[in-house]
Every structure is written in C-alpha cells, then in structure tokens.
Amino acid sequence: MKSNTQLLAQVTEFIGYEADLLDHKGYQEWLSLWTEKGLYIVPTDLNETDYLGTLNLALDDADMRRMRVARLENGESVSANSVGYTVRMMSRVRILEAGDDLVIARCAMTLNELRHGKLVTYPANVEYTLKPTGEGFKLEQKVVKLLHADGFLRTVSFIF
C-alpha cells in the first residue's frame, strides 16, 4: 500500500480537478474522467445503498451522462441557459478504502449556485470510487449525498 499521505494528496488533487471542471463547465473533459461502467448517482435517501433498486434524483450510466451533458451544452434547455455560475468547495477528504484496484474516498462539498440573481447552497457528502490507471484515476462511481436530498429542492441545471 502506498503511503497514506501520498494517496491522500493524489485523491485530493483529483477531486479538486473534477470540481474545477464542473464549475467551469468543462463537461467533455469531465465525461472522459469516467470508466465505461461508471455510475453518477444522486440518491433521494441518504441511508440507501441499493441505488439500482430504488429511485434516485439521478442515476447516470455512460449514456445518461452523455445526454445530461448534451442537454446542458446544446442550447435547447431553457433552464440550462439561465444557469449563472456554480462555485463548489471540496474539503475534509478522507480515504475509506485503499485497494490496488479501487480507492474509496469521502469528502464534504458546499456548492453555491447563482441563478436569476439568487444564491442557493447545496451542502453534501460526496463518495468517490476511483480506479487507478496509468493515466491517473478514473471515476468508477460518484455518489452525491445532498444534505436535503429528501426535502424539496430547487430544480438543478448543472452537475453536482
């Protein structure tokens, strides 16, 4: 096993890179961060682990991720066109499992969105399942556990 400090630094760098891509709408690059079987998940129930067997806010395989990005980029979605900016802070990164094939990490996120002049904040725990490859990590799974996942959210036209 690698030294924890080194792994933590690599994971933190990856998480920061991914967050920067999403805040700056680098969606095509973001798509390339994923393994083909990877799943992007935003559950409605914070205690649920059977994501396929339950209803989520989003459960995107590769096709759905591509379509989600297309929706945000192709100019056909009126809500995507009125999104201003998002700024997200990622911190409290902790490695939960450090295997040779997969690394599981968890961190805190505070995402701020400005839309129609209003500031909306989304605090969340984010769990990353990362696959180490020759070109760095790939996303095998990302689970965004919004603090108010089971409450009434405003509609979302960006990617957590």
Binding site: G53, L55, N56, L57, A70, R71, E76, D150, L153
Partner: protein, 440 residues
C-alpha cells in the same frame, strides 16, 4: 365603529367572489392577479382546499400495520396511517394537548405517535392511549374524548383522498368521468397492483395554479422539452411528436380533465399481439431471464413506459402518464411538488427498475424535463407582476370544441380545454358560501 367592523366583514367575505369574477369563462381568460394576490390565496386555502377532496397518498404507501406517511391538505399537516387491523386513517398531525405535531418524517413504521412535548401517546387509529400523570385530568376529561382528529377519507383504485368537508359528495361522485381514466391509468402495473416506488420533491417560486394548468398543457411540450426529446431514440422521439396527432383534451367535469397525447397508449392491455419494438429488446430479455412467459413479457413491456395521457384531478393531483404529480400550495408565490414514481407490487425487478430509470430521466429536480418546466413557471410568476392589471389566456381551441363519446366537451390535444374546466370549477368553489353567485 360598528359600521367599520361590519364593512370589514363584508369585505373579507367578498374575496372569494372577487377571485371568482376574475375567471372570464365566456372568453376563456383569467386575471393574472389570481397568481399573485395574497388575500385570494388565503381564501383559496379555505374555499378550495378545506372544502373539497384532496389527494393525500396511495394505499401502497402504507402497506403494513403500523405504516404511516405524512401529507398536507392545503396547509394542514396530516398523517395517513394503517392500524393493527389494517384499517386506514387520515389524522390531523396535531397533539390534542398543546398542538405539537406527533409525527415527523416522510414515511415509516411505528407502534404509536408520541408527542415529543409532554409524551401523550396515540395509536395508529388516532386514539389517545396513554399520557404521563393522567390523574391530574381526573374529572377534567376522559382519554376517549381526545383522539387525534380524524378526517373523512375515501379511496378509488388505491388513491386516498381526504376532506375537511363532511357535507361533500362521495368521492366517486366527485371523480365522476375521471374514474374511467383512473381505471385505465392503473393498468400500467402490467398485471400487478400499482405501487409507489419512491418520489421526487421540488419547489418553485410560483402559484399553485400555474402547475395545475401545466399538466393539461400539451402546447408547451415540444418547446420547453426540446432538450428531453433530443435525448430520446428516434422512435420514442416520434411518439412524443404528438401535437399533429389524433390526441385530444376532454373536460371531465368538476375541474377534472384528461389530455390524451398518445392515443395508441390509452389502453395498455390492448394491442398485446404486436411484436416488441427493438428499443425494448433489452427489457424484454431481462423479463424472459426472470422466467416470464412471452405473453407476460409483452404485457409488461407495454406497461413499463406508462400511459399516453395525463389525467388532471382538481385541485392537487394528476395521474401523469407514468406517475402521480401532487402539488401543495405553500404561499401565493411558492408551490411544492412531488413526482411519485409507480411500479407493480410483486412485479419483476427489471420492470420496476426500468420504470424508476425512466422516471429519473424526465422527472424530479434533476430530470431532463422538470427543470425546464420549473424555469417556465418561474417566469410566468415573475411576468405576471408586470402591469397593474391583465389577463392570462386559456382560450386556445375554444371555437373548435366537439362532443366526446362520453358527452363531454373535447378539443385538440394542444387546446386549453382542461384549463378552462379547472378554472370553471375554481370559479364555482370560490363563489360558494359568499351569498351570491359569481358574475351576478
């Protein structure tokens, strides 16, 4: 002084009438102040939500003895519960002692509802079972006199409606012409009883009637949901290109309406001898792998994608293609919405999973459809503030009405026939109890 008080009373009484008069039935238009006047909103809470049948949940949401879910009737928090004898109850969520809610959370299972303030404990049927130091109530009241207050409820096809109005007609009479469509809607269990699988929740800064209108508005679909249609395969996108098709909107009476967008998907148990389309091959194979016969596979595949219509029930629920849309008015300019995903009780896992994935695709705050609806509604609320007076038009297709096989007014799929039906009912209930009929 007494004159002043009297004038104020008359004034308060006339808010409902004022709102009713803002519905110009003859010309198919409504005053935009119906979206933004707080006094009218207050009156709606009483004259609409306290006086009619309001949807509170589906029986499958309280499947077992001890199951409960929380809901609202207008602004009143209520509990839908199932007691030990499997009887359903709709209870006001308010301790009889000092008024705290006795049940929090969306749903769950419990043996009792216990007030957190002084520990009064109620059964699932609302009866007051126990309270600390009861002797201080000796000679004051008997426990039997203090259950959680029960509401009248009735259900149709598992859909539970409750009301504060003990004088109202039976539910089935209120649903009237809508019942036929509820029966058709429930066929999407694919041979299994329809069951709630989960729900999406979101809110938007706008009036509840904007959402009420939307579920019977096909006109917006190709515009607002262009990005959703683009994300579909070609065959499915063709099905959603329905404005030039044979669909229709029919006014079912009592504010209810149905908008048929895809006529070939009205009856999901018809046309079962057709071959399974290529785009459903994966689901069909998964169902075969679960041991289903070819006949059942065909039935399930056809049911999996839901019906081709939206049934709009006044005032707060819609059976919308494949899910329930439930609205809750929060304030004059804020509305909460639930998109309730449905599947089949005991149905194959592949079927229910497919339905949840389809629900996630369009519905909820992160779906490919809802955020664009939300944007349009928010803009309606904002735009409705422009000008001191003005009209919202719901007169589309007014001159081209025909009579349906059931004897109801019917217009083109992109007509505003359903909205006019909802506003006619709104006008009726808002002018009730105010002494004179609206328009007089």
């Amino acid at each position: 002084m007494s004159d002043l008080i009297e004038m104020k009373a008359v004034d308060a009484e006339s808010v409902g009438l004022r709102a009713a008069n803002m519905v110009d039935d003859e010309n198919g238009r409504v005053k935009k102040a119906l979206y933004s006047d707080p006094a009218i909103f207050e009156e709606e809470m009483d004259l609409v939500f306290n006086k009619t049948w309001v949807f509170v949940g589906h029986e499958s949401e309280v499947p077992e003895a001890g199951s409960f879910k929380t809901a609202y009737i207008g602004r009143h928090p209520v509990i839908l519960s199932r007691d030990r004898k499997m009887n359903i109850h709709v209870l006001q969520n308010r301790c009889r002692h000092r008024g705290a809610t006795v049940c929090e959370g969306r749903k769950g299972k419990t043996k009792a509802f216990t007030c957190p303030y002084h520990g009064w404990g109620y059964g699932l049927d609302g009866s007051l079972r126990a309270l600390p130091k009861p002797e201080e109530y000796d000679g004051v009241f008997d426990k039997n006199e203090m259950p959680l207050e029960s509401l009248r409820w009735e259900s149709y096809q598992g859909m539970v409606f409750a009301t504060f109005n003990n004088e109202i007609e039976p539910l089935e009479q209120f649903l009237g012409g809508a019942k036929k469509w509820i029966d058709l809607f429930m066929k999407q269990g694919g041979g299994y009883p329809v069951k709630v699988l989960g729900e999406h929740r979101f809110n938007f800064p706008g009036n509840w009637k904007i959402q009420l209108e939307n579920t019977t508005d096909a006109y917006h679909f190709p515009i607002v949901h262009k990005s959703f249609v683009t994300s579909l395969d070609e065959a499915t996108a063709d099905i959603f290109d329905f404005l030039d098709g044979e669909g229709f909107v029919e006014d079912l009476g009592n504010g209810h309406s149905v908008m048929v967008m895809i006529p070939q998907l009205v009856d999901l148990e018809a046309d079962l001898d057709q071959p399974i389309p290529e785009r459903f091959a994966e689901l069909a194979q998964a169902l075969r792998d679960e041991g289903k016969s070819e006949d059942e596979v065909k039935k399930l595949v056809r049911a999996a994608h839901g019906t081709g219509f939206n049934l709009n029930l006044f005032p707060n629920v819609s059976c919308s293609m494949a899910f329930f849309r439930v609205l809750r008015p929060v304030s004059v300019g804020e509305t909460e919405i639930q998109h309730v995903a449905l599947g089949g009780e005991g149905a194959p896992a592949a079927f229910n999973q497919k339905r949840m994935r389809l629900h996630e695709h369009f519905q909820g705050p992160m779906g490919f459809g809802t955020p664009d609806d939300g944007e349009a509604w928010e803009r309606v609320q904002k735009g409705a503030m422009a000008g001191t007076d003005g009209w919202i038009l719901v007169n589309r297709g007014m001159s081209k009405l025909r009579t349906s096989v059931d004897g109801n007014p019917q217009g083109a799929v992109c007509s505003e026939t359903g909205m006019r039906g909802a506003y006619r009912q709104y006008k009726k209930v808002m002018s009730a109890n105010s002494g004179t009929k609206a328009g007089e």
